[in-house]
Amino acid sequence: MRVELVHITKRFGSTVAVDDFTATLADGQLIALLGPSGCGKSTLLNLLAGIIPVTGGRARFDEDDVTSWPPERRGVGLVFQNYALYPHMTVAQNISFPLEIKKVPKPERVRRINDIASMARVEELLDRRPDELSGGQQQRVAIARALVKQPRLLLLDEPLSNLDARLRLEMREEIRRVQRETGVTTVFVTHDQEEAMSISDQIVLMRAGKLQQRDPAQTLYHNPVNRFAAEFLGNPPINQIKGRVENGLFRTREGGVGIPLPINAACGNRPAILAVRAESFVLDEGGFPCEVAELFEIGKEEMASLRVGGAVVRAYLPLEGRSGKGDTVRVRLKPRGVFLFDEKTGERL
């Protein structure tokens, strides 16, 4: 199902939790709703589920305007951060609950519970109660319960945040698999950029209630619209150097060398920020000089801290055995992963 949000706004008293949000979510995709804590992700999800009413704007599911529809009419499945399983019911009863309400006949109910339980891998748990399950098991039950009624839209609110690192990875794959198998349009809330990058078809990036960018992970990574988007994605975080552009060279604020820019930068002489991803540095005899401040190894990657003008940047460079701390190396920037932003507005230049 296609979801269309048009100028959606939600105010709680004087706080604007979601601010004039307009986006279309394509059918059958897994969309990650990404943003820092408190940016309005849960609020947006609850608006989609119909749990809270909008202050302004319209929401459309395919052809239906659902803005004023109550949750039970919308046909969405929702998994809460705390899973919200009914504590007095067994797993089977929990999964069965939405079907009972839809008055699905018993034999079909049993069949669908068994189908969904085997897909979510909770068959062995059907007779247990929620307080007898681990966090990961509770989550799978919650997903099974959300999916069993064959929703048009599946909403997941940080479903992995209670799990340990390994289980997170595993459950991430599970969610992806289940989503592929069912083809249900899914919105997955997270504040973890890596999680968003690894499982989603599209990332919707939010900040302070406002939509920043909606693109596939790779586009978002390689073509951020503003400084916030560039900062939020990528590990290590993107390097940022303050300065201004002069004659195709970037001069750091502290002066020193001019960095030749591999990108077109028609931005006049205003204060700007040069953002460079760690993998966008290459060793080049014809490049600009910088001093090696530190060398690390992270897993199989070699990383160096370089001093450029007054700034320190981190770069993936194969320096092992060639240069040491304190040496000067010459590098240039690749065109990919290098961006200029306005220092004041953060807009891409």
Binding site: G50, R74, A84, L85, P87, H88, L133, K149
Partner: protein, 272 residues
């Protein structure tokens, strides 16, 4: 040192329990004694022979079977109605949003200050105007809701996380379904406690029946027992037999409900 302190505590508790239980014990054994034995001095701790006839005679002298049935009808009706209105009220005051909710609830709470004795006359005239004087409905109608129980249950409902409510709504449940399928089962321990207290109060209610009931056939047990003291002459063993019949059902009810309360407390709780 700690052991003696502990022993002292247990001794104190045992003494307390004894003081509480002794009257019941005395009532129970006296109910089986003969007239001679009950008047004997020093008193016997255990009946020489069990005389079940006391119950038969008591039931013959006064229509206790009728009183018993009346009591059961009145108590069951009061508990059912109060339970129902309490659940609905608690839900409305905890989950539903409507203008003036808090004001109305505060007003209701302030009504708790007014003792029942103060409204007896008003209730009495109301019952007469409704034409229910001297009938069982007169014993039921004024006790079909309770602000205090509503308050207790509402406080429990407030501890249930919003996400359960939202989850149920998204699962397609109406408010009504959510209340009966999720909230009420979760609140079972509180509910059982409330209904038990309610049953006890209703079963033992004396003042109100005394005022509105004239006909013998409409008396409830406590009223009947009171009347019996004058009607039975001075036969303490018959009094005790009748008292046993009054007290026993509540004791049995408590023993059953206790299990349910403890089970309920052990359940519930949500991880995460």
């Amino acid at each position: 040192m700690r052991r003696t302190a502990r022993a002292a505590i247990y001794a104190g508790l045992a003494l307390g329990a004894l003081v509480m239980v002794f009257p019941f014990y005395w009532m129970f054994v006296s109910a089986f004694k003969t007239t001679q034995e009950i008047n004997r001095f020093p008193p016997t701790w255990w009946p020489g022979s069990f005389r079940f006839d006391n119950f038969v005679v008591a039931f013959q002298k006064s229509p206790f079977a009728r009183y018993f049935v009346n009591s059961v009808i009145v108590t069951a009706s009061c508990v059912t109605c109060t339970g129902f209105t309490t659940i609905l009220g608690a839900f409305a005051f905890s989950r539903l949003r409507f203008p003036g909710r808090e004001v109305v609830f505060s007003l209701l709470l302030s009504l708790l200050m007014i003792p029942f004795e103060m409204v007896i006359i008003t209730n009495y005239t109301t019952i007469i105007q409704m034409g229910f004087n001297d009938s069982l409905p007169a014993l039921i109608l004024p006790f079909t809701s309770s602000i205090f129980y509503t308050y207790i249950l509402r406080n429990f409902f407030l501890t249930v996380p919003d996400s359960l409510y939202h989850s149920a709504r998204v699962d397609g449940a109406s408010n009504w379904r959510f209340l009966w399928r999720i909230l009420v089962p979760m609140a079972r321990p509180s509910l059982v406690t409330i209904m038990l207290l309610n049953a006890l109060v209703s079963w033992n209610s004396f003042m109100w029946p005394l005022i509105v009931i004239k006909t013998t056939a409409n008396r409830t047990l406590p009223f009947g027992l009171y009347a019996f003291t004058t009607e039975s002459g001075s036969n303490p063993e018959l009094m005790m037999a009748a008292s046993t019949v009054v007290v026993l059902p509540m004791i049995v009810l408590f023993l059953f409900a206790r299990k349910s309360i403890v089970n309920g407390v052990a359940r519930g709780g949500m991880k995460g």
